[in-house]
Symmetry: C2
Subunit: 290 residues, 2 copies
């Protein structure tokens, strides 16, 4: 097997059932240089221990996943969510400082869906903007970029009311790019007739905080949340999207993030090997300098 | 039970398992004044017979569903699709002439997905534009409006590469509004951050050929094609969307079109009754003049 591409980062969700120690070990053992972490496995061992483990692994950290979920109206539930987001900001800063040089302090935000009983998408979207406005001072102090991730419109009501890159950029526009960026995830945005325009705009504004790749294939599985596939296993044009992101000057790590029952049931070592192979086949050829 | 709203049209797909005779009978018996027809049950009895049956029913016809599926590259398959679309145009004209006064000659077009093995969404979208360009002269002669229906982005690759109203309007822009319009279907467009702007634009351009209502609810069923619900059973804000369509001056019939295994398994009489009731509860209150 060839050496994995130096810009490939394994998002930990791809090996969801591995604990942090396993995730770090199999990622480093496979020759990858970077990883995107998730809050739950980090919290399982505690932040300080997680930070030490990350340092020991020699890996860069590329994102901390994930926070957000702040579409509810004012009240104790909203306050609790914002407080938890502040904890996530601190986690992100600590981990980025503990990761190898080149680590990035990027906290991925998934907005949340419609509150129970509500039909008011516009209102929920405004409350996302308000929540980010409240968190920006904390993010700025911590040196963390809040990365708004638009999710595919099929998740608009139950998971993320931010559905397009243009919409994410519209929210981000109120804030400094060092504090608020966007995630470009191929699965969520490839269908968008305006995707190339939006990627170019995001790049021009310095807003691309993370580029994530995974594939789309139909028929969708019964649980559509698990319909993410290895790059190359579906119909997404990774040449088109990767070149568009590269053309903006984005030169940082690229995560592969898969939610897929079959991938999750595989041995993590094998899942990482497959990921590196898929990346090398359909993404690497479109990256500058390789 | 109260009289159904005079602008309610039952799209025949809502009672998918009923043949044409049954569909016409239960729709008229329930006191509805209009119906949207599907090609298969019409072809089952033959066009001339179907036209006579429609005349006898006293119902208006509001759409003929559906044609399109012309994303494939040039070749015999594409020619066959365009020929079939020409047949559908003739069917639409014949049925509209046979329906009660106020019938509209509207042929609903679903673009089709990516051709097998293709990842080229932009190319497929251009071929939709080209196909419509080829069909416009036939539509104009027949007095039929080709109605481009954007489908929810979750269908972008396997069913319809036209995903937003703005995109449909972009294709329609090349043609006269009498020949090419769009379908506004709440299920497909409600999530779109630009939906109100697009509805207003569609109205201003005289492009709203059909307004269809049904609801969105999560979790989605295993077959996402069957995830359409009676208005009021999900999270769509029918006040917002119906008022936006009314505000454009749209004053024609409004179809309820449900694809849902549970609705299909019900007695058609009961399904029509439930449809009229749902419409009266969540759509009628937002219509002018009632």
């Amino acid at each position: 097997m060839t050496t994995p591409h130096p810009r490939l980062s394994l998002n930990q969700a791809t090996i969801k059932h591995a604990d942090l120690a396993t995730a770090l070990r199999v990622t480093a053992d496979a020759g990858l240089e970077a990883i995107g972490l998730w809050r739950e496995p980090v919290q399982e061992v505690g932040l300080d221990t997680a930070a030490r483990m990350l340092t020991d692994s020699g890996l860069r950290v590329t994102t901390h996943c994930r926070s957000g979920f702040f579409t509810m109206p004012e009240g104790p539930e909203r306050r609790a969510s914002l407080d938890d987001n502040r904890v996530a900001i601190e986690e992100t800063a600590t981990l980025a400082a503990a990761g190898a040089p080149g680590s990035t302090a990027v906290l991925v935000l998934v907005a949340g869906g419609l509150p129970e009983g509500s039909q008011d998408l516009a209102g929920a979207r405004e409350r996302v903007r308000d929540a980010i406005g409240e968190l920006v001072p904390d993010a700025a102090v911590a040196g963390v970029t809040l990365a708004i991730e638009p999710l595919h419109p099929m998740f608009a009501t139950d998971r993320c009311v931010v559905s397009t890159l243009a919409q994410a950029l519209g929210i981000a526009a109120d804030f400094d790019p060092s504090a608020v960026g966007v995630v470009v995830d191929t699965f969520h945005v490839f269908w968008d007739p305006d995707v190339l325009t939006s990627i170019a705009a995001a790049g021009q504004e310095g807003r691309i905080a993370s580029y994530q790749v995974c594939d789309w294939k139909t028929p969708l599985p019964a649980d559509v949340l698990l319909s993410r596939h290895q790059p190359g296993d579906g119909v997404i044009d990774f040449a088109l999207l990767t070149r568009a992101v590269e053309a903006t000057g984005y030169d940082r790590d690229i995560e592969v993030e898969i939610f897929n029952a079959e991938v999750w049931s595989a041995d993590p070592v094998e899942a990482v090997r497959r990921t590196a192979e898929a990346f090398d086949t359909v993404v690497s050829p479109h990256l500058a300098g390789r």
